[in-house]
Amino acid sequence: MSNAETPAPAPAGPPPVETLTIKVDGRTVQVPKTMPDWQGKPQATTMLQACALAGVDVPHYCYHPKLPIAGNCRMCLVEFGTPVMDPATRQPVKNEDGSVKIARSVLPYEPGTPRGAIGCATPISPGMEIYPNSPATKQMREAVLESLLINHPLDCPICDQAGECKLQEYSVQHGQATSQFVEAKVHKPKAVDLGPRIMLDDERCILCTRCIRFAKDIAGDDALGIVNRGSYNTIAAAPGMKFDNNYTLNTVDLCPVGALTSKDFRFKMRVWFLKETKSVCTSCATGCNITVGSREDTVHRYEPRENDAVNGPWMCDAGRLNYKWIHREDRLKHVLIRGQKSNWATALKELTAKLATVAAGSAAVIASARQTTEELYLLRQLAAKLGALTDSVPRTQQADRLLVSADRNPNSNGARVTGIATGELGARLPLIAAGIRAGTITTLIVFGEDVTQCGIGADLLARLELLVVSDILPNPTVAAAHYVLPGCAHVEKRGTFLNGKGRLQKFLKGVEAPGDTRPEWEFLHELVHAVTGRNGYTSMEGLFNQMAQDVPAFAGLEWAKLGDQGVTVSI
């Protein structure tokens, strides 16, 4: 044993971040020595990152925080200086006033001319000064913009990207009013069919290679590349190949100009007319965060909304395009009682009366793991009162290596934590089927599933004394129902989903529901309140907070605390 003193216990919390002191635009700032790169690994902080921390935005095209750095657009060139070092003492040389002498970067072969370095790839060093707004920096930026525009078609009035275009935006902020260019422009292919979902206008492309890097390094589909050389460089799919993986539409979001367009969205709508609503994709258990773009109660697009805890900035094409059913003509729009149009008041009153007299153990509830956590919670309350068996329906397919989960339900974990399902979803469905067959189960409440697809066929449904079904679109179960309660798509209501990794995420309402439809949680809370006699909750906030008290996984949560990015709970 050594005689050394026992070392002091390690301080709690994360280790202190090593910082560097630099100047940005004349202001002294301390910035971390390293910052996460596109894969989240710590790398030397770049000038661009340091400027961002100092509140200065360095314009850029090819740089994207979640893609490998290319350094090709040169838009982020900035002038900088470094302390002059005395070669003998290796100490900084001082000015007469005692300040550190700074050598501005100049061309090695032309010492009178300032030299920039690309902010996106140049690491900062101690004592560095960055001049993101100096005349030299501005001149370099203007020159890059001028170069990018000389062969650009400037067809903004008919471009889908107008309003979201970085070329437009930077030209206004950083460009010159006129270009000196008097030569003939280079012409390139327009309306190129890159793949089933993507069109490319090569004349608008600024060759930043974001799309190529995304395809290769994120989606793992090395389908895109550049053909030709120099000014004739052209983005193209590999010969004989289509750009067709489940993530292609992310390149439309990534493209800083209007070169890549979604066939689904092309020419549909000027983007500034769209209302944006924060939401979550429902097509698998990943729960990618999305922004719903809608106008006059019609959904026009889903776009990924960045959330590093879930999807980063991406989403899959299947999820993105899975919104059209919302506006299907055959949506269930009316309350039906034994096939006849009715209304909510009548239906809920009759149901309250019927459910109040159901014998304990003679009912079952099958609630889809596509319903919101709040709805599942309410259904669980009802089931408890009725002594009903409950379950959900599993939807399992292949997972992929990026985002798509094998579990194609958005809320399987919601079904689990509320007690609707235990462990394997669907494990109790055979029990329910057997109960109906044996005549011990005579009442069935189904939310959002066609149970004829999971072992409870029309013959069994015909034996029921009471079949209550809530759904959005017609199906054989709806057809067999005594009571049909038309429900809402998630963009038509509020609620939460608990994703495959235990992240509880809320989504907001973007559009009004059609016809007589009502959010399920709304009519459920009336019904459950009436049947159980428990106090009701008139708002989503109240309902959620009540649920948080009852469901152990949600202990301590409140609706307001969920934020836009959700919270991770232990499941």
Binding site: I69, A70, G71, N72, C73, R74, M75, L77, L107, Y109, E110, T113, R115, G116, I118, A121, T122, P123, M140, A143, V144, E146, S147, L148, I150, N151, Q180, F181, V182, E183, A184, V186, I206, L207, G225, I226, N228, R229, G230, S231, Y232, N233
Partner: protein, 469 residues
């Protein structure tokens, strides 16, 4: 009279010399390799001990050898930057892409004396712990590739290459890789990408310095053919003797490619700095003078990328006097010693060692249009300033040289070129901009006169047109 000094091309140019192993061995081939492999460790005055490999690396540094590919960077220093602690393999690449217009010197070695290159490479690889090396040869030199492959087979058969070289337990393999015909494949990081099977897009530096993150993200040395051939001679004659050739800081010999308006275009080997530009152009041993009745107009001194020098220019050069003091002296163009430092002091460079002579029959506008067309064609197109600027320059110079110019085109061309240099991923940006900047600045009257003449012609034709109506 100034003379050639044949070191690298000594054998290659001797009558009856053939590129095969037998001939090379007869001329003392692979003795330098034997000598290198038998190098003893060296004790330094400060008590440190150099391993045999470190001795060779030290000797190359001491020889003062500067890269012959273009930038003239110290070979020994380049080798010292190699990351030797990464645990990754170290690669060596011989840059045999020789594509700089006006340059035809590496091919002399490749075609006539391939074993000299291979010997230099094996020594360089051994000294740098390289187990796998490549010769990246220009696609348009298929014959050179065949010769190299044959020579490599011979070297393997003789035990100079492959497993357990000369019984010292050292393994090395060298592969020939043919390019597919792009100038940018000569830029070392573009070359590396190409060698990896990708489009030859040069890499950004930082972070991809070849010495740290080169081929397959491993430490990599890229040297020119002539540079690697010189290593053999440094080992053979010793660094001190090698450094006695040439002039201080510009040691050894250099192959010069002389083309353009001279009587005897061709390649020559000189001691660096011992022969002047004027001697290279005019001496009977070299270019043999201009064509009859012609006067000198300009010299492109270091490959098409280097800045043009104008006849009659006088440069201020720093010289060390007999007393050791630095003085500034006026040196006229033709008295410039042909070396790295003098050409740099004259505002240009000796680059790839290619001198292109222009006499008074040449239009500077047409010459520049020709050069700019080359750079527009060869820009890889990766980064904005060069991609867009190179073609823009080509279009502008073409227009000017085809009678559609304007007087403002001189300024216009400078504006475009200034926005390329220093702002690109690789030095191709400079290569495209420098000819324009230097041609237009030094021959501005000619460019403006061209534009003015075209303007006047247009004015006449429109006014003539008006009269007809």
């Amino acid at each position: 009279m100034a003379e050639q000094f044949k070191l690298v091309l000594k054998n290659a140019d001797s009558p009856g010399y053939t590129p095969d192993m037998e001939c090379y061995l007869k001329h003392g081939g692979y003795q330098a390799l034997r000598k290198a492999l038998a190098t003893a460790p060296r004790d330094l005055p400060d008590g440190k001990k150099l391993s045999p490999q470190e001795v060779i690396r030290d000797d190359v540094k001491a020889s003062g050898l500067r890269g012959r590919g273009g930038a003239g960077f110290s070979a020994g220093l380049k080798w010292s930057f190699v990351d030797r602690r990464s645990g990754k393999p170290i690669y060596l690449i011989c840059n045999a892409d020789e594509s700089e217009p006006g340059t035809f010197k590496d091919r002399q070695i490749l075609h006539k004396d391939p074993h000299q290159l291979i010997e230099g490479m094996v020594i360089s690889c051994w000294a740098n712990d390289v187990k796998l090396a490549y010769i990246y040869i220009r696609g348009e030199m298929p014959h050179g590739a065949r010769i190299l492959n044959q020579a490599l087979r011979e070297a393997r058969a003789k035990g100079f290459l492959g497993k357990n070289i000369l019984g010292v337990g050292y393994d090395l393999e060298i592969h020939v890789h043919r390019g597919a015909g792009a100038y940018i494949c000569g830029e070392e990081t573009g070359l590396i990408e190409s060698l990896e099977g990708k489009r030859a897009y040069p890499r950004i530096k930082p972070p991809y310095f070849p010495a740290v993150l080169g081929l397959y993200m491993c430490p990599t040395i890229v040297n020119n053919v002539e540079t690697l051939a010189a290593v053999k001679h440094i080992v053979e004659m010793g660094p001190v003797n090698y450094a006695k050739l040439g002039t201080p800081n510009n040691t050894g010999t250099r192959l010069v490619s002389l083309s353009g308006d001279v009587q005897k275009p061709g390649y020559f080997e000189i001691e660096v700095g011992k022969v002047t530009l004027g001697q290279l152009i005019n001496d009977a041993n070299f270019g043999g003078g201009l064509k009859p009745g012609r006067t000198l107009k300009a010299v492109i001194p270091g490959g098409s990328s280097s800045k043009v020098l104008k006849a009659g220019e006088v440069f201020k050069l720093k010289r060390k006097g007999a007393d050791g003091q630095m003085t500034t002296v006026d040196v006229p163009l033709l008295d410039l010693p042909y070396d790295f430092d003098s050409l740099q002091a004259a505002g240009s460079m000796s680059g790839s060692g290619a001198i292109i002579v222009l006499d008074d029959s040449r239009s500077m506008v047409e010459t520049l249009a020709n050069l700019s067309e080359f750079y527009a064609h060869e820009s890889c197109g990766q980064c904005t300033p060069c991609r867009e600027g190179a073609l823009w320059l080509a279009k502008g110079t073409h227009r000017l040289s085809h009678g559609e110019g304007r007087k403002v085109d001189a300024e216009y061309l400078l504006h475009i070129a200034q926005n390329i240099q220093g702002r690109t991923i690789c030095a191709f940006g400079e290569a495209a901009a420098w000819p324009v900047l230097s041609f237009v600045k030094k021959f501005r009257e000619e460019f403006e006169a061209h534009g003015a003449a075209a303007e006047a012609a247009r004015k006449n034709s429109t006014s003539a047109g008006t009269h007809q109506h």
